[in-house]
Symmetry: D2
Subunit: 308 residues, 4 copies
């Protein structure tokens, strides 16, 4: 099924190709200027830090439905190994095999293509088995720190978590922004809470994966209008799944990653953050969420922290 007219209309409106030059590989992360970060540091009031990553473990969020995206398998290469002889210092070491998008992660700009193109008009064929992403590899994101704003859509709607098929629309984002009490601005990182991750946390991995609430096809225009640098949420698929429009799969991925050049994050645990923000009414914070610099990577695990 080719992408429908409606998709292409939105794509045209949110497209950032060439905006930061034809050689650009980091898209909306260009919006995080020194000034933005300087301001973001002022969002730190108490010094309280809230971690947003899920623990990395064999029984992580992956169910096997996405081929090859394996949960972390961490094994020991040594346990109290007397490398230098007995009665002295002993070493334990470990090694991991994991899908880079298996847990709490960022999708890099190489993760998705449509119509044969990646962000900034690069040919999809520049992603290869041998090198990975020839352009916009995740290592190009050398730092990812800015002001974060929690848009707590579940709380705005007065529910524990959004219902399965709920598509988070621009109206939802407006309402959550109002609750947040701060206008989202250029260079911000937005974290959208649906509450869906509660399913995983309560042991229902399959229910977490599918069906799932998530971002609507109307969300990208909202983020584009605000000049947001990056967006993350607390679901496996990021966007509502199954999709809003029959046979239009992953349109939000395509709009964010390909058209806007905006990284997006999945499987972020926003439960503790939601409680903290609700308690003192402050929904903005310094958000530190730099991915691991895998050369050619199309994604990366991240251990994001909100500093309040």
């Amino acid at each position: 099924m080719p992408l429908p007219e409606r998709f292409h209309d939105i794509a045209k409106r949110v497209n950032n190709w060439g905006r930061w030059g034809t050689a650009d590989e980091i898209g909306t992360l260009n919006l995080i200027t020194d000034e933005v970060v300087r301001e973001a540091a002022r969002a730190v009031r108490t010094g309280h830090r809230v971690p947003l990553a899920l623990p990395l473990r064999q029984d992580g969020v992956q169910t096997g439905a996405i081929p090859g995206r394996v949960n972390p398998l961490r094994t020991m290469t040594a346990v109290n190994w007397a490398m230098f002889g007995p009665d002295t210092v002993a070493i334990s070491d470990d090694v991991v095999t994991m899908g880079l998008q298996a847990g709490t992660h960022w999708d890099g700009l190489g993760h998705v293509s449509h119509s044969g193109r990646l962000y900034n008009g690069r040919p999809a064929s520049t992603v290869t088995a041998h090198q990975g992403a020839g352009f916009s590899g995740i290592e190009k994101v050398t730092t990812l720190i800015s002001r974060g704003v929690l848009l707590d859509v579940a709380r705005t709607r007065g529910v524990e978590r959004l219902p399965e098929g709920h598509a988070v629309t621009s109206e939802d984002l407006d309402a959550a922004e109002e609750l947040a009490g701060t206008r989202v601005r250029g260079g911000d990182i937005v974290v959208v809470r649906t509450g869906q991750i509660q399913r995983y946390l309560s042991g229902d991995r399959h229910g977490y994966a599918y069906p799932s609430p998530g971002l609507s096809i109307s969300a990208p225009e909202w983020f584009h209008a605000r000049d947001v640098a990056a967006v993350a949420d607390d679901t496996l698929t990021f966007e509502v799944f199954p999709p809003e429009i029959k046979d239009l799969w992953l349109p939000v991925h395509a709009l964010h990653l390909v058209e806007m050049g905006m990284p997006q994050g999945q499987n972020w645990n926003l439960e503790e953050l939601s409680t903290a923000c609700a308690e003192d009414g402050r929904y903005a914070f310094l958000l530190s969420a730099t991915p691991e610099p895998f050369v050619g990577g199309v994604g990366s695990p991240v251990a994001p922290v909100a500093i309040r």
Copy 2:
């Protein structure tokens, strides 16, 4: 060879077992209080961010000398895969196998034992092949953000990089602290620059690994006196290697990780940071360096960022 008297003397002086309770698993990270972080955020002046991680790649710093600590092998599980049919959005995904201590990383408190003991007196046998670190797994470090101070020992001594066998003593640290123009305080993260990583950056992986300058056995007492939360440097072995005292292997590891309960970082690239700090004379910054939360991990890759 049993550990010598001298080691045990120092061990006694820097020991933190029980200081934060018998159940404690994070040691000196307890020193990073909300107040410390609130103050640390004030170190951000320009908003300039300096990344401190080496890119993660097959030709990383590991030479094969440490069995099993393999450089990252990142491969694609899909390249522009039309998961949902042709003419629609296509997916690229990747997976990695890597030693958790292969690149820029933190040593967790489970990484080293001596005399059958880990931090806080836990038996070394609580590290197992099956679960990894039963106590003090790297996932217990849920956030690692504080004020960072660069102690630029190479610059203090007026050299590009310290000579091979140079052991960084407490006198070196004093001098570098003076250059830094700020007194290291409780809860700070100290990053010590030897310049050794230049060898790797210039293509000499083996020369980088060994022989290497690094911390002296006198350094732990200095860090203990300042109540430092964590220390990282720009070498493979962290401490001077081969060791200062014949047949006394990895004494600094044992003092930091086992006695003090203080995480230590290796393979940090401090070159750009050194230049930046020297230019404006500001050696303190907000340092964000949260490890990936591998459950039971004895180490973790990290993508540290200095925010200035």
Copy 3:
């Protein structure tokens, strides 16, 4: 729960410790002499070969129930990579991560210990995270080829496959030997068919795993009496599961691997072999089933072939 009297009684009767010397590391494989193999080659009549391995793939037999025993994840490190420039020969390469016991495999003698001991009385502690099996590593099995005899218990009992909880007793083996029309002799490899693998082949991975028919605690004495070199079957757990005797877990593993020093194989696909043997009434063949020589391995994938 300590091992019961009954277990120790059988253990005493089947024990082979010291039988081939105190330094021996391959146990019953010593029974495969040149003469045995020379005779085994005579079992080849038509030259027809029957493969007994399951294909190695992500949706293999593992369900996640055994921590860390991951199905094979094979990825490409290069796809038609023009390593030497365009218009010339292009290379594709691949890499795998897999549990050594994930698919069709042999359990090595290091796979199981009981009461702190391995085969030949070696301390269980000689298996380490750093080296794996210090004794009896799977690489010590340099060749594993002998006469194979199919004991088709399902066919003997006139069923497609044995019922879930069926424990294959020595009486079952007697009856199947009679059907086979050849007496099992010293150095033979016995393959026992339950039919259980049909569940996996029909898509029911969980049903295949558990509950499962398999060998009874009476089987080891039968194999010991015949001086069998190795035994394999077509189940995940090898022995009946859940176990025959409450709280006596994996007694057959312990008797075979620890007491007898006899390797055992699981997840062998015996369906095609069963048909072939039934058609011409010949249940003996040359069986080639050498494991991959992983140094220190406690198991290994194998691609067994019956040559008839």
Copy 4:
């Protein structure tokens, strides 16, 4: 550099496309008929078995020169783990990450393409990151057993091992066949000994890899004339390296894998076999060398055994 006229001339002469039908995926392995195997079993005289695989270990033959083709990293997922409680049977398990062509292996027909084509004219694009080899995956080789003939070129020339740049020509093969005292016939597996693997065995991994003796561009026509089913040797690159003809890289790979559809093996240890054959003058044997059935694999480790 496009492939030269000379290459295309030979290609035309050895080409097997269509010979076994347009749907064929196993090429010259079709030559191993039941009759061939029945005859091959008669080559077993003493029952003596000679293993031809190198042990699989971290310090295997790979030097890092071939990106991603990593030596095996085997780690424990459990060591004497009391899965079912204390005082009962304890489990040790392991897992491996390795390049499928890292050690003693077969190249599958998907390993190499030239001019956009694979064996039987399949488009090179049928190899994908997602699925691996869409045609001629190594799992299609369900069994690989036939008569083996050792062509001991080093011994024929009266040297311990061939000099570095020696290209094994059809004349060399003729002479070695004469020494073998048996004419190579249709469906045979030929193993060619250069002695080069001695370098690896003596600890010189880099010297083993390069420069290396190996097969000449004249060899494929020899194998084609004899209707050989498969060929293996005791080098890393299989063919002489650097190549005989400037800028003509891997021509023998292209002729064997693409034009003939003939699997080829590398890193086989033929030293013990050479001694055994020389001792009794018998150079033919039953050779069992079935690869592991990785679905979509372009290669596979193998533990070949000569049964004499």
